[in-house]
């Protein structure tokens, strides 16, 4: 079975590159030569084909792997609806913006607004799984409607801002104001979190759905979930009570 398509950065990006159109819509059956023709908008209004920046090889198999320093690559996998996207390093801003399905796995860190909503959109990601092994910039998962966003490191702040539903799971420090203005959905804090004043404590328990999610993350993505996360307990806070109030923050605790 083919490992899919490999996109290897030819040389270091010298300016911000908007990769928002290269994986939007149907792409998983495209050959490297077809993907190479998709447009990338460079800072300064210049548009170039993807193949000018990346060397693409392999066979279509529903998977694409990006290699190289993509810290200046923005909007990677924006609008993703299918397939598996793997990034060996870190990416720029707005990774997985408004994604609707498929999987985006970032082995490094992500910039601001990962899995969030585009400025003109009401909803952030509406499906799929966005797995960030490192840290995430501000407003990760802002206005997300469905799906799973897992962050292996810390979140810079305002994670899940105004989220409508879905799950954000943060292994490291959740940063300030996580879950603020949420309507529904879950912010799961396996590390430190400051509970917003507009959330109210409900109980301490073991949510079975979380054990299901953690088991899946560990089995499918080798996400670094620890045994203590399975055997510990979770404080449940309901909120944001300044909005609809049907969301929750689940804060891990050893006792």
């Amino acid at each position: 079975m083919s490992d899919g398509v490999v996109a290897r950065l030819r040389q270091r990006l010298r300016q911000q590159a908007d990769l928002g159109e290269i994986l939007a819509g149907a792409w998983s059956g495209l050959r490297p030569s077809e993907l190479a023709a998709r447009p990338v908008h460079l800072e300064g209004a210049e548009t170039v084909p993807l193949g000018e920046l990346f060397d693409l090889s392999g066979e279509p198999a529903g998977r694409i792997r990006f290699e190289g320093d993509l810290a200046r690559a923005d909007r990677l996998a924006a609008g993703l609806a299918e397939g598996e996207v793997i990034v060996e390093g870190s990416v720029g801003a707005q990774a997985g913006l408004g994604m609707a399905g498929g999987t985006l796995r970032i082995h490094g860190s992500a910039g601001p607004l990962a899995g969030a909503a585009a400025p003109e959109a009401r909803r952030g990601m509406t499906g799929g799984e966005l797995i960030i092994r490192g840290s995430a910039g501000v407003e990760a998962g802002a206005r997300m409607r469905r799906g799973l966003l897992a962050i292996g490191g810390k979140a810079e702040g305002h994670a899940g801002h105004a989220m409508i539903a879905g799950t954000i799971l943060i292994l490291g420090d959740a940063g300030p104001d996580a879950g603020l203005w949420s309507k529904r959905g879950s912010v799961v804090a396996l590390g430190p979190i400051a509970i917003p004043a507009t959330y109210r404590y409900a109980c301490t328990y073991r949510p079975a759905h979380l054990e299901l999610t953690l088991t899946r993350l560990r089995a499918r993505y080798r996400f670094p979930v620890k045994k203590r996360h399975f055997v510990g307990w979770y404080r449940r806070y309901s909120g944001d009570l300044a909005d609809l109030g049907k969301g929750e923050i689940l804060e891990w605790t050893a006792k």
């Binding site: 949510p207 079975a208 299901l212 499918r220």
Partner: protein, 301 residues
């Protein structure tokens, strides 16, 4: 054919096509997963009186547990597609939802036929239930006094086989029971197979209809009752004083065939005179398990 001195009759077990679902139950400990599974599969020996047939298939290794907790796999069978949803909603709602710490998952994710279970049980949450999509599957979190009950929205259902069987004809009741216990031990915990009767064993095999009542759909299998040898047309060889039956349901015929082979092999021991099987002359069920073919390593017709 003889196996260690036990005569294998030249006959076959006749089985039917049923619908089967696989239910995975997990709990905080193996105790509570098993408790829920035992209640879910209680009073589910025969569709004749129970509307379904169900039993524990096996314990799940932790690596196969959907949520990493101790788990039990149950096979749940009905005669028709329509029955499956009703029975699962009734039984999961009354026996798993009510059982401390448990969660309930679909064990046939590839089956194209899907029946709504969590989608109905969620209403117990009275508007406080929460939906979660994990790995593309929807689950329902139903708030309960203990915490939350997690149940998958839909369960897979596929064609299965019910009514595989064999009869142990023994010199004494003790010998029949020991042979049956050995057979059950050899057949238990096999993937794709359940033994829905108490302890896996039936002492009251039935025939279709009745000699006296037109309304009875089944009655005692008088031909195999030792106490009736002198007053009915008996099928029992001389010296047989007790008969026990093992009924085997499964996800497919090969799974049943393999289980029967293991069970019959274990049952052929001291005090057992013959192994037979129940059938309706091939008129009712499409699956025929010929004992001698099975014990020779052949596949069912």
């Amino acid at each position: 054919m003889n196996l260690r001195g036990v005569f294998i009759e030249d006959t076959f077990a006749e089985a039917f096509t049923m619908r089967v679902a696989r239910i995975l139950i997990t709990g905080r400990s193996a105790r509570w997963a098993r408790e829920a599974a035992l209640n879910l599969t209680g009073f589910a020996t025969s569709v004749i009186g129970c509307k379904c047939e169900a039993a524990i298939e096996r314990e799940l290794p932790l690596r196969e547990s959907p949520d990493g907790r101790p788990g039990i796999s149950v096979l749940f069978m009905t005669m028709g597609k329509d029955d499956m949803g009703k029975r699962l909603i009734e039984r999961i709602g009354q026996t798993v939802l009510t059982c401390p710490t448990t969660a309930c998952y679909d064990g046939l994710p590839e089956a194209p036929d899907r029946v709504g279970v969590g989608s109905a049980l969620r209403h117990f949450g009275d508007g406080f239930q929460i939906s979660k999509v994990v790995g593309g599957e929807r689950f329902w979190r139903i708030p309960v006094m203990e915490g939350e009950f997690l149940v998958q929205e839909k369960f897979g259902m596929q064609k299965g086989v019910g009514g595989g069987n064999f009869l142990i004809l023994a010199r004494s009741a003790d010998a029949a029971l020991q042979a049956a216990e050995a057979a059950v031990d050899a057949m238990s915990s096999r993937t794709g197979v359940i033994l829905p009767f108490p302890g896996g064993v039936v002492r009251s095999g039935s025939k279709v209809g009745s000699l006296r009542s037109k309304t009875m759909i089944a009655s005692t299998n008088d031909a195999y009752c030792p106490t009736l040898r002198a007053v009915t047309t008996s099928a029992l060889p001389e010296q047989v004083n007790s008969v026990l039956e093992i009924v085997i349901n499964g996800t497919d015929a090969p799974a049943i065939s393999a289980a029967m082979r293991a069970g019959i092999d274990a049952a052929c021991r001291d005090g057992v005179l013959a192994i037979s099987a129940g059938n309706y002359n091939g008129k009712l069920g499409p699956h025929h398990f010929h004992l001698r073919e099975i014990m020779s390593g052949g596949e069912p017709v």
